[in-house]
Symmetry: C2
Subunit: 523 residues, 2 copies
């Protein structure tokens, strides 16, 4: 296998480079190889444009090569000056032009209006994510298949681990590791036992990860990158390196990756299941990530059974595991109220056929979870756990989808993106079905309920004035159909907290679950 | 009306007093009357017993009388030394004996094991509260009626305001105010308009409040005292005194009241509806209360539509307004998970017949709210809003209960207190009906569901080993009956996350809502 130095190879020398806004500008310098350059050499650069100054860390990329990466957040002329304790790396200067972003480049995702997200250029971003924890640790053809699957899906975020995973249905030994092995021995069970030098990284591992992050960026998919996880269990020891090595790893990882616009930091998957890291350690690690990242990428921490303190300032949003929050009405909004941040229900059990209850949602249940989340003004992440003879499980290793929810999730994403802004419940503690984007746009979801008819009515909170006329469409969220209703509806007076059509018109509903109604004001 | 100086009148002089643990020890001193003693004189005392030292603030009680109150938390010999900028109050010494508490005195309520409460002596405390915001501002006979109603109820906490309330159904002018009026004029609508001196308190107002808090203590009722509220609307101006006066009031209030063992601090009712106090101000006020209170009484803040940052360290527990959290299964536990503190759903709408939707719960709904809260390991507070010709509304002014939920809430309280410890869901994200106190004690609630039978089954999480035998009782939570089931049930093997009776026995249920089953291990 070959992992080219991604961008540098196709580029002129640093001082002549041009880069687009939120693109990746890279400086390559030759420096010392003696001793342990990862530990012995520090390298930073200050980038400036007008009054703006941004300090970033460089890193050692092996074989005497040092790099500094930078993501400019403004167009125009930029210059830089390096600092280092190694003379050949110190005091290097250069300048370059940052041009306007290309049409598909909207910049990194940020928080929008407390509960939602948008790209840096202001375009709304609604996360519709999936999960493939160890996809980058699989054989190359499988990784390519995963990318192809994602390309043909509607997912725009993926949860993925930096470190390899050992767990039910994920046993393979990866080709690359993040560290140099000092020693390796074959165990009785055929598996390899490594002794790592946690002070020396393996640049090839990181270059490969960066290639995959770039591949995702080309598909407009955010990489929700899991920095630590508990699925190691003594096999490689990456979950128990000790705080000093953990922080050394964070520093290196963030120096390498923070200039990639589609990176999100997920401090952990199931942080509370990593038994050797006490709760307090996550404050130290989270601060280390945020302080090392000059761009303030999105950052969260994902729980097992106990939530972390998601309100802490280093977390931009809340990443929750808890399927019960989106399996019925009235739940998803409660955590949003409590945390006052965007809430992504990043693990709500998975569509699949495993015996474990976390891995056996029906496709209808997985789809409903997304709808429950979205109408409550929150977001939900998909995962697929079908055990299919001769095939991988996407949730673990990537590969192909076998489930029926991805198409329905794509259908929902399209509906959400057609709204003029983020959805939220119009009357959040009293009506758990009626979401609105604004007073002219409503989406009403019935879930498993099958009422024979729906009397046109809206919460008075947020409703337009008497006389507003709405058109209605009946949405079958499972069959992915949108059927216009021939009548229109005209708002009458407020009656006991709700407004009705002035003739109390209603919509006859087919006897099916998972229906929704979309209302759009037409006058 | 006459408000005796509560305890001092019946007591010997300070140095000869004895006091019981968590009782109220009071020092009375004569001091200056010139100028404004409230503002000009400061007075503190350091109480010590062995190595323990506690500093408390005294206060001016009018007419040249200064007081210092102290609640000793340990038996034995205590001594004190006063400090003041007024010579007659400075350097006063004394000593007294603190004896063991009497049988009904369990001390102040504290947090127990993250999610629950107990008295200082270790006795569990399960809050079953009610609400009478302005009861102490009503005519004396009505206050006495309120106390009599409480005496004959099962409530052990009451939410009540320091300042008077003006709102629908609460219009009366109180007899006493917290401040001296500089001026008062009669408005066209017959109401009085006052001009207050916010630097001079009215000690009679506070002595009256203290008498009522003492009355509640005698009934073993905690006074959940609301320091600020929005129900003033320019009538008296106590919601808009400005930060300097607000802090002066907090200091005086806490100096007077913190030695009363049954005081809880509720920073506000509906804090976010007090429009002139920005969100940041509540940090200042909450810190001021906590720093002035040497005993660390329970402290919370209650919301309107937006929650405050309940995780902040000054809050011992979470006081939530949101009826939807306890109107269905699976919701109440979510906020507990998020906040990692005891959660009291202090306002979940009220049993009553008002046109407003917050004031028209049926008695069945009010009762179910308590059950939903309790099985989720949280707590719920009652309020009653029946408009009855010629009578007051208890929620506002106190008086009598007309509703049917208080008896059912008392029945639930008895069941809860019969458990060996606090209840919580055994499998919180998957089974929202099965609470347990320990592996031998379960309480299973069906709410509005009316299953024809219940197959004996428990979550494997927290269940006792195979072979455990349980007796069962059918509980009708509305009719308040407990009916033993003649059969017993013997645990078989685990099947898919649950354990069943080894013969798959089941319990036939009557076709009624609001049933529960209590299980007790008998072997």
């Amino acid at each position: 296998m070959c992992f080219p130095q991604l961008l540098a190879a196709q580029r002129p020398t640093a001082s002549e480079q041009a880069v687009e806004q939120w693109g990746l500008y890279e400086i390559t310098l030759a420096g010392p190889t003696a001793g342990n350059p990862f530990a012995d050499v520090w390298l930073t650069a200050e980038f400036s444009s007008g009054a703006k100054k941004i300090k970033v860390s460089g890193f050692y990329d092996g074989e005497g090569v040092y790099k500094i990466r930078f993501m400019p957040d403004a167009t125009g002329q930029w210059s830089y000056l390096t600092s280092s304790n190694a003379k050949p790396l110190n005091g290097k200067k250069g300048s370059f032009t940052c041009r306007a972003p290309s049409a598909t480049n909207h910049g990194p995702v940020k928080v929008r209006e407390m509960y939602h997200f948008q790209y840096a250029d202001g375009k709304p971003y609604y996360p519709f994510g999936t999960t493939a924890y160890a996809w980058t640790h699989q054989p190359e053809p499988l990784q390519e298949q995963t990318l192809n699957t994602l390309k043909n899906s509607s997912f725009n975020k993926i949860r993925m681990c930096v470190f390899p995973k050992t767990y039910s249905y994920v046993e393979e030994e990866p080709a690359l590791f993040a560290y140099e092995a000092k020693n390796r021995t074959k165990l009785a069970n055929g598996k390899l036992k490594y002794e790592w030098d946690f002070t020396r990284f393996n640049p090839a591992f990181f270059r490969h990860l960066e290639k995959r992050i770039t591949d995702l960026a080309k598909l407009n998919i955010e990489a929700d990158l899991i920095i630590f996880h508990p699925y190691d269990k003594g096999r490689w020891g990456f979950d128990s390196m000790g705080m000093k090595n953990d922080l050394f790893y964070i520093k290196y990882l963030v120096a390498r990756l923070s200039a990639y616009q589609n990176v999100w930091w997920s401090m952990a998957n199931e942080f509370d299941f990593i038994k050797n890291k006490p709760r307090e350690a996550w404050d130290v690690y989270s601060k280390a990530v945020v302080e090392a990242d000059p761009y303030h990428h999105l950052c969260s921490i994902h729980n097992g059974t106990e939530y972390f303190d998601n309100w802490k300032p280093y977390f931009t949003h809340v990443s929750i595991q808890n399927g019960s929050t989106v399996e019925d009405f009235g739940r998803a909004v409660l955590l949003r109220d409590a945390y006052r941040k965007p809430v992504v229900y990043d693990e709500v059990c998975y569509e699949g056929n495993l015996p474990q209850r976390w891995g056996r949602l029906s496709p209808e249940e997985m789809t409903e979870a997304f709808w429950q989340g979205v109408i409550a003004g929150t977001y939900v992440t998909h995962g697929e756990t079908y055990r299919t003879p001769g095939d991988t499980i996407f949730w673990a290793e990537g590969g192909r989808f076998h489930g029926q929810s991805p198409a329905r999730i794509g259908f929902l994403r399209k509906l959400v993106e057609e709204e003029p802004g983020p959805l939220q419940l119009a009357d959040p503690w009293k009506d758990h079905q009626t979401a609105q984007a604004d007073s002219a746009h409503y989406l009403i979801y019935f879930g498993k309920q099958m009422p024979p008819e729906w009397v046109f009515s809206l919460p008075k909170k947020g409703a337009p004035p008497t006389g507003a006329v709405f058109k209605a469409e009946l949405i079958d969220t499972w069959n992915m159909t949108i059927t216009p209703i021939s009548e229109t509806f005209r708002l009458g007076d407020v009656k006991d907290y709700r407004v009705y059509d002035d003739g109390f018109k209603k919509i006859r509903l087919p006897a099916k679950p998972y229906l929704a109604i979309r209302l759009t004001q037409v006058n």
